[in-house]
Symmetry: C2
Amino acid sequence: MTDAATIAQKYITLWNEADQAKRKDLIAQAWTEDATYIDPMMEGRGHDQIDALVGAVHQRFPGYVFAVSGKPEGYGDRVRFSWTLGAPDKDPIAKGTDFGIVAGDGRLKAITGFLDYVQA
Amino acid sequence: MTDAATIAQKYITLWNEADQAKRKDLIAQAWTEDATYIDPMMEGRGHDQIDALVGAVHQRFPGYVFAVSGKPEGYGDRVRFSWTLGAPDKDPIAKGTDFGIVAGDGRLKAITGFLDYVQA
């Protein structure tokens, strides 16, 4: 059984890491080397590209924080979890749901993201 | 741009087809030959296995109907849509969300399903 809650929390933690060196460590722990990421706005493959995507979000939304929302779910090698992005103590500016495929070693090998809400 | 609404409707229509010969035609139109399907209860690869999964649902829930719920979404080769399963004029007994990858010819090559609600 995939531990969806742990996978989701590790994933969100790396998205919140503004320090690039620390973030690269977290990415290497959470993603396989050939991992793919795609959402409606951006995509990347491998640790360096994924790090660049996360860094771009920090540049665009400094001080904003991702949080797991609801209960992550998983079965076999599949996971689904939802998240929010917002400034501390403010309503979220965005919400989304990510669908993942997990490798045999427990790291993510693919994420497809969808947006559930974007502040007007 | 993926036409997520059309893909979702074709997909739901084949799930509702009780006649196996007609259903196999619909499956061939909607899925690639090597397509994969997985949800928390079952999985299959290729037209024959997918047909067997759909047929098993008809056997278990005769007279029940799937319907698209909400607005299907897509970008690039990814789609997401939600559905309900219920007897006509009754509340749904199940709801779910499916995530798909679309081949270059517009047919589905992969679906990962999650359940959003199951009647107790």
